[in-house]
């Protein structure tokens, strides 16, 4: 009997294979995302192993001096705050101790030095590695010629030999600087060419392989230090025991702080040092993969629900013919299992392909990444396949239950008698409400208190709550908006009726899209608000976009200033003249009207009799002395900017200190500077160009040009980049949801073949039919997008408030264009999703559809 169930499932898959395309696609994309995420980490680790670890890959144990342990154990003798090198440096003494330890068959000290190489007429920088006594411990691999055997021979790596035109037989000068600053130089002959190094730590330099004696010669007598010591054991010894005996052998020589690790352990340590935040990246990516998978689950659930509904009569017939409930369910679950398994496997293949492609591109375009290789760890295959299959199975569980409960009688009832309607379970509504209220309260508290963690928790609770309540508001909204927009036309009315004829299906389809759109718009609104809030904070911190100093004190000519004013991106330019001094240092004056325009904060413009000071000034007045000896008191307007040149209008300078621009220009101490306001929309490149242009126009060095614009732009660039990456990742979830919209629609169209043919017979034109189906898709997609944008904006604002709370007032800023773009994309995609099914439906002659069962 099990066999017949399997057969049935296979037959269904074969017969209706087209109906499974979208599910397969959705599961495939979701699992590919997960797979790729897992491969990112493994590939990074593997690439680094391949390169960093290559130098000690063949050894049994690797010994390193442990500087940080030595530093942690500083004692009174270390008066300079640095640990005594004796405790952690590996030298000839250490090598000897290791070689002398029982169980060690060979040991080799890897040089940690670099030298300069004089070849032809040029000097190059080279990393040095040495030939080991035991050839198994030599890390360089010979490509041609011979490894150096005496102190006047070297081997050069192939890449740099090619690049610098060095070939075998050439004579080079090799020089090194000793500790005491003396230079030791040797003339050597190139005897061999070695394979290029993969190590990102040394790969940037020429790699020079030398004999032990040359290293010693270059290091100076008794000065040789090793970066590490690699060793081979005699084989029969236990490595852990050997580690202990080596550590104590070294300690007895006074080298207390060392690590003795197997190559694998060492690689893990090196990779962790080198790649730092790799694990965090993986965790972040996994969160996005999880979102994509949840959306996938919704799409799968919906598809199976529709497929089961379509097969109600067939299932009922089977029940009549004696199929057990459990057999019906098994057959549906086996279908899900097979689809999930196949789609997930395809997803892993897709992920592998994409990652291989990306790494190939990376390796080819970024020279320093040429060591990158693809690693597909077992878990990157197993986990996505398990997750994809499991999600498909779980998502099919509820529809399978429905299939199981089809009564044999249903076979005898006409298909269109099957009652429509779908009620949300009470439990789900109660849970949803609880989550929503608890979450909303936490969110509100987090926003008010400026606690992002609490707000985040609130979001994590309330969003699933809202999704659980989806069946309460999604179909109603679709229907309401459908009625509003139908314009009284029959296709419009039919579309809005169709869009909600199966509320459960509508809810699931819309929910999938809602998730993606909510998250994307949350990020957009959050980022925009954060940007603008930071912009305000930065605007009062960095009051001036660009400040140009007059280092050589020659002043700026009127012509040069006029020319600078015409440059692209310059909005306001004003010259500040020095008028005197105060407790706050040099005082400046400039044209009051231009000053008001050049400053980035409206609230911080000095009025008549006022001087704008840096935030360090505390008093409400400032006593000033002019160059002409006059003194007066100015009202202080204290800005938020901490390094700021006090400035006033010329009117104030003349009235209080009796200094006019003309007088100031005469003064010997005259120093002037320029303040510029630049176009807010300049991007980083345009700003750099402007800087260069300004330097030329004003005849100053580029370093004389400063100001807050660059800092502000850096903040914005970072936020924009984060937003782009996050949106890109979330786009995967949106894409899957859109596939779901297309899928639901095309299955519904299949299901309604007869109905649509009836409408055609009764006078619905092809165009009207297409319009009806398009409207239906747009209604579901549009409403989901609209609600998602609203919800996402609320989350974004609350989230930004809870982050910014700590920094000060939030300035609400909604990226209208971007949000409209999100809605437009969803609507257009939904429209596009309706094209194929609508075309198929319209192609059918009315009579063909009427005949179909």
């Amino acid at each position: 009997m099990y066999n017949s169930v399997l057969q049935l499932a296979l037959a269904n898959l074969k017969t209706y294979s087209r109906r499974f395309i979208a599910v397969t696609l959705a599961v495939m994309i979701g699992t590919a995302f997960l797979g790729a995420t897992l491969m990112v980490n493994a590939s990074a680790t593997e690439s680094l192993k391949n390169s960093i670890g290559s130098s000690y890959a063949n050894s049994d144990l690797v010994i390193h001096g442990d500087y940080s342990a030595a530093y942690d154990n500083l004692d009174a003798a270390d008066t300079d705050g640095e640990p005594d090198p004796v405790g952690y440096q590996l030298g000839a003494k250490a090598l000897k101790a290791v070689e002398g330890t029982a169980g060690v068959s060979a040991a080799h000290g890897a040089a940690g030095t670099s030298v300069s190489v004089h070849a032809g007429s040029k000097d190059y920088f080279a990393s040095v590695s040495t030939v080991a006594k035991d050839p198994r411990l030599t890390s360089t691999v010979l490509e041609s010629g011979a490894l150096p055997s005496s102190s006047d021979q070297v081997a050069v790596d192939a890449t740099y030999a090619g690049e610098y035109n060095i070939s075998r037989g050439d004579v080079l000068d090799v020089a090194s600087a000793t500790e005491d600053g003396k230079e030791i130089s040797k003339q050597v002959k190139v005897t061999g060419i070695t394979e290029a190094s993969n190590d990102p730590l040394t790969g940037a330099n020429m790699s020079l392989t030398v004999s032990q004696s040359l290293l010693e010669a270059l290091s100076g007598p008794g000065e040789t230090t090793y970066q590490s010591i690699a060793l081979l054991s005699v084989g029969s010894v236990d490595l852990d025991t050997l580690k202990t005996s080596i550590t104590s052998a070294l300690a007895s020589e006074g080298i207390e702080y060392t690590t003795v690790l197997t190559p694998d352990e060492q690689i893990v340590k090196d990779v962790a040092n080198f790649s730092g935040g790799n694990d965090q990246l993986t965790i972040v990516l996994l969160v996005f993969a999880l979102i994509a998978l949840v959306v996938t689950g919704l799409v799968v659930m919906n598809t199976f629900a529709v497929l089961i509904a379509q097969r109600t009569r067939e299932l009922a017939l089977m029940r009549t013919l004696g199929a057990l409930r459990s057999q019906i369910r098994s057959s549906v679950l086996i279908e899900a299992l097979l689809v999930g398994l196949l789609a997930s496997a395809a997803g892993v293949l897709l992920a592998t392909g994409i990652m291989a492609g990306l790494i190939a591109i990376l390796g080819a375009t970024v020279p320093s990444m040429s060591f990158a290789i693809l690693a597909v760890p077992v878990q990157a295959i197993v986990v996505p396949i398990l997750a994809g299959t499991l999600i498909t199975l779980v998502a099919a569980w509820v529809p399978a239950g429905k299939a199981m409960s089809v009564s044999p009688l249903a076979a005898l009832r006409p298909a269109d008698d099957v009652a429509m309607g779908n009620k949300a379970g009470k439990v789900r509504i109660v849970c949803g409400l609880l989550l929503l209220f608890a979450g909303a309260a936490a969110l509100a508290y987090g926003a008010i208190e400026g606690d992002i963690l609490i707000a985040f928790g609130g979001g994590m609770l309330s969003f699933p709550g809202i999704l659980m309540l989806g069946s309460l508001f999604l179909p109603k909204t679709v229907s309401a908006i459908g009625n509003l927009t139908s314009g009284g036309t029959v296709p419009g009315k039919l579309a809005s009726l169709n869009a909600v004829r199966n509320p459960g299906r509508t809810t699931a389809t819309a929910t999938a899209l809602l998730i993606g759109v909510t998250l994307v718009s949350m990020m957009m609104v959050g980022a925009q608000t954060a940007k603008s809030s930071l912009g305000d904070a930065l605007g009062s911190e960095y009051l001036v976009d660009i400040q140009i100093l007059d280092y050589d004190q020659k002043g700026f000519s009127t012509d040069a200033i006029a020319k600078a004013a015409t440059l692209d991106g310059v909005e306001v330019i004003t010259e500040l003249g020095s008028v005197g001094t105060s407790a706050e240092g040099e005082l400046y004056a400039t044209d009051p009207a231009l000053l008001a325009r050049v400053l980035n904060s409206d609230k911080q413009v000095p009025g008549s009799g006022e001087i704008l000071t840096g935030s360090t000034h505390e008093a409400s007045t400032l006593a000033a002395t002019s160059y002409t000896g006059a003194s007066g008191e100015l009202k202080a307007l204290v800005s938020d900017s901490n390094s700021f040149r006090p400035v006033m209008g010329w009117d104030t300078a003349e009235r209080v200190l009796g200094i006019t621009p003309a007088v100031a220009a005469e003064a010997t101490q005259h120093e002037s500077l320029l303040w510029l306001k630049a176009d807010d929309n300049l991007d980083a490149a345009a700003l750099r160009t402007l800087q260069t242009d300004l330097a030329v126009a004003l005849g100053v060095e580029e370093f004389a040009i400063g100001g807050g614009m660059k800092e502000m732009q850096m903040f914005n660039t970072v936020i924009d980049m984060l937003l782009m990456i996050v949106s890109g990742l979330l786009a995967v979830a949106v894409l899957i949801a859109l596939i779901g919209v297309a899928n639901t629609l095309s299955l519904s169209v299949l299901e309604r073949t007869r109905e649509n043919s009836l409408l055609r017979a009764l006078g619905l034109t092809r165009g009207q039919l297409k319009k009806m189906l398009a409207t239906e898709a747009v209604l579901i997609g549009g409403v989901a997008a609209l609600l998602g944008v609203l919800l996402g904006s609320a989350y974004g604002l609350l989230g930004a408030q809870s982050v910014m709370g700590a920094f000060g007032a939030m300035s609400v800023s909604i990226p209208w264009l971007q949000l409209a773009g999100v809605i437009a994309v969803s609507v257009v995609a939904a429209l596009a999703a309706s094209i194929v099914p609508a075309r198929r439906a319209a192609k059918l002659a009315p009579v063909q559809g009427l005949a179909s069962d």
Binding site: V490, L759, L764, T765
Partner: protein, 250 residues
Amino acid sequence: MTITAPHTSTDIAVHATNLSKIYGAGTTRVEALRGVEVSFARGKFTAIMGPSGSGKSTLMHCLAGLDDASGGSIYIGGTDISKLNDDALTKMRREKVGFVFQSFNLVPTLTAEANILLPLALAGKKHDAAWLETIVATLGLKDRLTHKPHELSGGQQQRVAVARALLTRPEVVFGDEPTGNLDSRTGAEVLSLLRSSTREMGQTIIMVTHDAIAASYADTVLLMKDGELVGQLEDPTVESVTQALSGLGV
């Protein structure tokens, strides 16, 4: 063979000449209609009968503009519909033709009333309220107008379909086994309704059936076999129809 219903050409509602329909090609080629010449008198109730597979449904589908004919011309109210494109044909259907199918006559999302008004709504036309009331009263649907199809019995559903077909005062109402899914009493009710709409409203009706009792409600019975018209009965009775059918070897 040419058979013309006994009325003058000015009184012809539907007319087909040399109508042929071929399904498939090669070994699967089926000639469902072989050069059919037929005219249907205005204001008459005509039944088309014949053994299963004789081409009854095909003929009706072609006449009603639901399917393309392979050859020949079809005139409905003087318009050659074989020359119309799909949109024009669709508009012709909603204005000049009414349908009652065997099953699945109604759009499940719409109420009975909305279903009745559907062709007019699609055409963007106002309905004649008095006419609607007359039809609804005649068909006994007054209390059922706000019901959805799944809340109606089979007979009620067919009556809603009849009301829809009559509301536009079409040139012709086509029925393909309209009583095939009904019990005999409900079937008789629907057939009486169709007959009285011919008698009292002058409605032209063309009905396909394989049931001799149903055919006996018609004014004329046309007999089909192997894609051709092979006979005709005026003022049929159950007996005369049964006899004529057995003459066809059924």
